[in-house]
């Protein structure tokens, strides 16, 4: 081979090495973060940590029970609100591909996906918090539900689009009413993709802080009443991490560990199940 070709081949190999190096570099911060949080957090988690509420500043021995329960309740309420609407929205979009309304509706869902979470927090403050007159967990759930909708709608729509229309036509031909065909034939057929969408959307909002800043507000006590302010894991991490108290830092580390691993677990489960059921998301 003449020298010029050798040069070109060499350049190609060099570029390949560079690209491979840079591509895998991204794994470094991820692993660093996971390891760091694991190391700092694992020592803080014990039974007191999980079952007590934070103590007044300066005292040791508190826990994050209020944030744990609060996060679970807020996410649960958000899911109850968002999942039915999201699935119905996805059904609507997949059944109406070309009408004028569906065009604008789809556009709206796309827009919604790009709205920064802090803006949603502002809007829900005016829609829910001010009229009710108090901060509440339910207003936080509403904000989180709004954030879940685009993911739910999009994944439901994509899943249902993959189902061959012959299935629907067969159902209709057999005389089944439209709503039965959709709800009892099509949706169960796509349940795996829809479930993946649900888990993804939950993983997305479980770690959201900004929308809760002006809605759920936080609460140093354990509270199960949705109409009152509630604490949640991301809020706790945000407030305690920026504080100067060492025991609050400890609580934040433990909370960060729990939050990080829950979110990662949800994502991994979603990947495994969607691969097994072979759904394209």
């Amino acid at each position: 081979m003449n020298a010029h070709v050798k040069y070109r081949v060499g350049k190609s190999r060099a570029v390949q090495a560079l690209i491979v190096f840079m591509a895998f570099l991204i794994t470094v911060p991820l692993i660093l973060i996971i390891v760091y949080i694991f190391r700092e957090g694992i020592t803080k988690i014990n039974w007191t940590f999980l079952t007590r509420v934070p103590k007044p500043v300066g005292e040791t021995g508190g826990g994050i029970a209020n944030a744990l329960i609060g996060s679970i309740l807020i996410v649960l309420a958000a899911s109850v609100i968002a999942i039915p609407i999201g699935i119905l929205g996805g059904i609507y979009l997949s059944e109406n591909k070309n009408t004028r309304l569906s065009y604008w509706s789809r556009l709206a869902v796309d827009v919604l996906q790009g709205v920064p979470s802090i803006v949603i927090g502002i809007v829900v403050y005016f829609w829910v918090v001010k009229p009710i007159g108090t901060f509440s967990a339910i207003s936080g759930s509403v904000a989180l539900a709004i954030m879940m909708l685009p993911i739910l709608i999009r994944s439901t729509e994509e899943t249902l689009k993959l189902i061959p229309s012959s299935l629907k036509e067969a159902g209709l031909a057999l005389g089944l009413p439209y709503h039965r065909v959709i709800l009892k034939v099509i949706v169960p057929c796509g349940i795996s993709g829809i479930l993946s969408g649900i888990m993804l959307s939950i993983a997305r909002i479980a770690g959201e802080t900004a929308p809760l800043l002006f809605t759920a507000f936080g609460n140093p006590y354990l509270n199960t009443n949705l109409t009152k302010p509630m604490q949640s894991l991301p809020l706790l991490i945000f407030n305690y991490a920026t504080s100067p108290y060492d025991d609050w830092h400890d609580l934040a580390w433990g909370a960060a560990l729990i939050l990080l691993f829950t979110v990662l677990l949800l994502n991994i489960i979603t990947k495994i199940t969607s691969r097994r059921w072979n759904v394209q998301l």
Partner: protein
């Protein structure tokens, strides 16, 4: 009377076809209502933001957008420090992240599209997008900030540690997945005949990438970059924790500053004057419009690209 909407299997009831039609149209109407609801939701958000911004627009006018002073004491507000802060952090992050995003996209799309290593990297990238923002902020505050501080002390810059640069660093990590996954999809879509033609003419791998794949996917890659940018612009928590919360125009990349999202997060619950609160909402409106427009352009390009 409509019966048997959900008839239990064991009891056979006479199905009234009129009731069935009613149930069907109810269902269809519900679907349409949900479709309309989405539209109403987004318009509602826009309207709420606009109504909230009116007091500020009325008293400060358009000069608000390039005013440099944010002075709640004297009720003087100007958005420029935050516009600059947002633009600086986002574009810096974009510049730093694009090489890595493209590297990942090219690796996963061209060099190694299948196999366990490729899946591993793909999953890693998606997990990066999954980590909650507040955890990035927390980690950044306690790990990155001391490192940046050391760096600043070496170069004789004021060793704040926090500031625009640190925020941009964290943003970089956070936005890499967006351009990367989109880029990968685009690169995989390049038709094989195109590539094979180039190879058969004696091109090296690098030359095929540079001269065939990249030009072909140019607009798709650009769309991916736009999506990353849209994410960076709206990011709140991680930035708030490491940017320094200073409402003046940053004097250098290593100085503290503020972004539109972080100033809203910090000052919203205490904006005790009408114009103050309204100025913050107007920032939210600007943020909303900018992120939406950028995301829309990106999505448009993708749609056009995948339909060609």
């Amino acid at each position: 009377m409509p019966t048997a909407i959900a008839a239990p299997q064991r009891v056979v009831r006479k199905k009234n076809s009129y009731g069935q039609i009613r149930a069907e149209s109810l269902f269809r109407r519900t679907l349409v209502i949900v479709g309309v609801a989405m539209l109403l939701l987004v318009t509602g958000i826009l309207i709420t933001l606009i109504i909230g911004s009116i007091p500020s627009i009325k008293s400060l006018g358009i000069k608000y957008l390039w005013g440099t002073t944010w002075d709640p004491v004297n009720n003087v507000y100007g958005a420029l420090p935050f516009l600059i802060g947002t633009l600086l952090t986002s574009f810096l992050a974009l510049i730093m992240s694009v090489p890595f995003s493209f590297a990942i996209a090219i690796y996963l799309g061209e060099y190694n599209p299948k196999g366990w290593l490729s899946n591993f990297l793909k999953n890693m990238v998606e997990l990066i997008a999954a980590v909650p923002s507040v955890i990035y902020g927390f980690w950044g505050l306690l790990v990155l900030v001391p490192i940046v501080r050391e760096l600043e002390m070496k170069f004789n810059i004021l060793p704040y540690g926090i500031g625009i640069f640190t925020s941009a660093l964290i943003l970089t990590i956070m936005i890499i997945p967006y351009a990367a996954s989109l880029g990968r999809e685009m690169i995989r879509l390049v038709p094989s005949p195109l590539k094979e033609g180039a190879y058969s003419l004696g091109a090296t791998r690098y030359e095929v990438i540079r001269n065939v794949i990249l030009p072909y996917t140019k607009s798709g890659l650009f769309a991916g970059v736009l999506l990353s940018l849209g994410r960076a612009l709206g990011e709140t928590m991680a930035v708030t924790m490491v940017i320094g919360n200073t409402s003046i125009i940053p004097t250098s990349i290593f100085a503290p500053g503020n972004t539109m999202a972080s100033v809203i997060a910090n000052e919203f619950t205490e904006a005790d004057r009408t114009v103050y609160l309204s100025a913050l909402i107007e920032l939210g409106l600007v943020l909303f419009l900018v992120t939406v427009i950028i995301n829309m352009i990106g999505k448009r390009i993708i749609k056009r690209f995948t339909n060609e």
